[in-house]
Symmetry: none
Subunit: 146 residues, 2 copies
């Protein structure tokens, strides 16, 4: 579904234009109805087509919430989820609370990860790409060959 990264601009009203290559796909998959919410691990936003969101949402709701960490995850993800619809020009208005959560200003990067997309501030995204992690690699990565 989503693939590749591309930079996009947010206008003064907090709107972003969804890249045209996704518009047809989204129209087919969910009538242009997407759900956007906080990514609980990093300060970015997750974007799902409405049907995918229902699966994710159900999975998270089903977690046993006696653990504090589970409750926190539920609050961040479910509590920030907003359903949005593309306007006639293929734009969506990002809610102010989410803009603040992910620290978004004018320059953003939309990152496609198959079933979902992530929305980052350009600054944070570049920081991620620059990051060099000296921690030992987990077993799974050591044996990986690309």
């Amino acid at each position: 579904m989503f693939q590749g990264s591309q930079s996009i601009n947010m206008d003064a009203k907090g709107r972003i234009a969804i890249p045209s290559k996704y518009r047809d796909l989204l129209a087919a998959a969910c009538n242009g109805r997407i759900v956007i919410t906080a990514n609980p691990y990093e300060r970015c936003l997750n974007i799902y087509p409405e049907p995918q969101w229902r699966d994710v949402s159900a999975k998270i709701s089903a977690l046993p919430n006696s653990h504090k960490q589970v409750r926190t995850l539920q609050r961040r993800v479910l509590g920030n989820a907003m359903e949005l619809e593309l306007d006639a020009n293929g734009r969506v208005l990002l809610p102010a609370t989410l803009r603040k959560y992910a620290d978004l200003d004018k320059k953003l990067v939309l990152v496609g990860l198959n079933e979902k997309a992530e929305l980052w501030s350009e600054e944070s995204w570049n920081a991620l790409l620059d990051e060099t992690d000296d921690a030992p690699l987990p077993e799974e990565l050591l044996s990986l060959s690309l």
Copy 2:
């Protein structure tokens, strides 16, 4: 599949001509559909014929993403992957985000590594060739004989 290195030029619009010796191979292997993405370890790009990419993609998607390092790898590799098709003149347009990631300007080097190819800026590639590394060799290299 890919072998040997050769220098190629990027034009003002960010297009590169795929060397003719690969065109027939690519047409046969994947109808000219290739996937290009970030190399997560060095600042260069990886180029795969579409079928090979599917294997790599599946491997990376399957990694447990509770590790931060895995998420970062997934974002860099999957999040930057773009499927491209050769145009009528055997060229592809490199997406702006990838050009920036690998710091590409006019002069590039395409390096064939069998199942994939790497694309470097000429400058970075030459720096790599000049590099001398005094670190101890890993086990796999100690037992190697060329």
